[in-house]
Symmetry: C2
Subunit: 214 residues, 2 copies
């Protein structure tokens, strides 16, 4: 338990720095390939005047950061390998180490795209204001029951890839039922990052969260 206490202390220090700079921070999590980066590609370029930055967390490489920097949005990359032993999650220390590279004075909203993993990212606070997860309909309806901590830790569950529903044996009501079993009433929205369906709602949500602070 000592590891999580030390992490919380650093997360609070990060929080204080973000508050001083009046930056709202969203921690975006999901299983690998659920569509986090694609959703960001569709939204960060135009957020109603809210100035956005992205902190990309990946084990290796900068593929996601490269996709987003093409949109002229400030993006900073953290790699857990080699920097942090190849960890499958971001923690407060990693985010703290990236602070000097973050243009906090120039942004209103920082989205942290966490490492693709449904287990431990939800255990480590990094200094965020709010946590959001993306759940793809291609993963099955049972994920809330199998990976409950993640679904409980989030304030919003984005159900992505709904364009594929006609081609899947996926029961949206069953997913909702399982989600309500682990996190009753948590807000959820149906989107397709590919077709754009529902993405307006996600964009509005981000603007509203950024404006909460103003």
């Amino acid at each position: 338990e000592g590891v999580l206490d030390a992490n919380d202390t650093l997360a609070r220090a990060n929080r204080a720095d973000f508050d001083r700079a009046s930056v709202t921070v969203v921690n975006l999590m999901s299983a690998p390939g659920a569509g986090k980066t694609t959703l960001l590609e569709r939204t960060v370029g135009d957020l109603d005047g809210v100035r956005v930055g992205v902190l990309e967390g990946d084990v290796q490489g900068s593929l996601d950061a490269d996709r987003l920097s093409a949109l002229h949005v400030p993006v900073t990359q953290i790699n857990t390998d080699p920097g942090f032993g190849g960890e499958c999650h971001l923690d407060a220390n990693m985010v703290r180490s990236a602070m000097p590279a973050l243009p906090l004075e120039e942004i209103d909203l920082l989205v942290i795209e966490n490492v693709g993993n449904l287990v431990c990212p939800a255990e480590f606070r990094v200094g965020e204001d709010v946590r959001v997860m993306v759940s793809s309909v291609t993963e099955g309806e049972d994920k809330p029951l199998k990976y409950p901590l993640m679904f409980r830790a989030c304030e919003l569950v984005i159900v992505n890839k709904v364009d594929l529903l006609p081609h899947l044996d996926y029961d949206l009501d069953l997913f909702d039922y399982h989600l309500d079993a682990v996190h009753p009433g948590v807000p959820r929205m149906l989107v397709s990052a590919r077709t754009g369906e529902g993405v307006e709602g996600w964009r509005d949500w981000l603007v509203e969260v950024a404006r909460r602070r103003a």
Copy 2:
């Protein structure tokens, strides 16, 4: 590094027990929801006379084990939470703790379905003969570059959910190109656990691996 050394020692002890019982062990890994359990549902019931058992690794619950025990195949469940701190992977100690419950005298092949996670399961040997991973076409072509350790650690990469290819912007050649960049020439097979396409190849591969030992 000490953790991995201790783990390797236990993995070798597991290996020795499996060898004594003449059981071939396959460690099956993937991101959450790639289709491991669905593939096993399609194959373990009828493997050309090879007697199969399954060891299910999950954070919580027995949903996958329940699906498989309906096929009258011996299934044993390991839960990392509460037993092992909610870890996002199986390790050799967890598998060792399940040994007494495994019907090793009655089976020829043990498939270990690991926790859904593309990062750390590949770091922990558990005493397996061979490692296989499932990569779903819905995850994107970039996963071999983003999570290279997993793709390098496996002897076979099953590309699943090919029934969805007509509805995705997924480029199979690009995936192959990225896979060959991290694990040149690794055998791969295209399957759909939903329609049954290519599943015969997976079944034959399992029979052949089990017979290697005979």
